[in-house]
Symmetry: C2
Subunit: 159 residues, 2 copies
């Protein structure tokens, strides 16, 4: 029986190795899930990365975070956090101040408008996530989370 992924990608030949199939499965799954998030966020005018930033800044609270701290907390690395924050600032969702003792740092904080947007998004996004993988149940989700952590540990060893 051909694998499910093979069918999804309309591929005739089987995969070269379990490793290869796993890599493609992870990439494919991430792409499918992100597409759902993109669609859910689109009416609100933000991207998944921007949403991620807003959540990070909400978590950071009133103290805010400097640019590199935000960048390092992002799920996917971005090489240009400055302009990512520029766009959020332009939209009024974050505010920046060079008010740290070390004047190289620029502190970014989420604004009331940003908090308001997140508040409106919390429920739909939670529901989306539940729809996307609520069927698996806590046990399988736990297994999945552990396996993925193990993958990352092997892929990017030592810290």
């Amino acid at each position: 029986m051909p694998s499910r992924l093979q069918a999804e990608l309309k591929q005739g030949k089987p995969f070269a190795s379990p490793e290869h199939e796993a890599i493609l499965s992870i990439a494919r799954t991430a792409s499918v899930l992100e597409h759902g998030v993109i669609e859910a966020l689109k009416p609100h005018g933000i991207t998944p990365t921007q949403y991620n930033v807003l959540r990070i800044l909400r978590g950071a609270g009133k103290e805010g975070l400097c640019r590199n701290a935000v960048r390092d907390r992002l799920v996917a690395r971005v090489p240009d956090a400055t302009r990512l924050l520029d766009r959020l600032a332009e939209a009024g969702l974050v505010a920046r101040d060079r008010d740290a003792p070390d004047r190289r740092y620029v502190t970014t904080r989420i604004t009331l408008a940003g908090l308001d947007l997140l508040a409106r998004l919390d429920q739909p996004i939670t529901q989306l996530h539940r729809r996307q993988l609520g069927r698996l149940g806590a046990r399988k989700l736990g297994t999945l989370i552990d396996l993925l952590a193990e993958v990352r540990g092997a892929a990017a060893p030592a810290e």
Copy 2:
């Protein structure tokens, strides 16, 4: 004990739900793995998406595939397959001909230069994949592949 992902993202608070942590885990893992592939391909001047296209066209063989067939086989959806193929054609890695009976179709085939590039990449990429997740072993990889297929089945139901 805070989860591994929490530590990676320097996040203080625990995740809102297992679903949320799973979503972020998948996205994070895909990002980490892709970064490795990007670095491996960079010296050869192609991106993971372009590499994906070349592998698809090698698999299609002499008959080639039309633009939309290539697009539908890609792991991550791209909304502009025309110019993706443009760039590969410019690099001499694929060739296109409007030679199908239905003259709307443009058949794309991998060139000798494309096959040669893939031949040079096969071993390093296989080794990279083994390094990235060879440690898990066949059993865990199988579990991971199955769980991810189940996620995609739930996230994009019915076909």
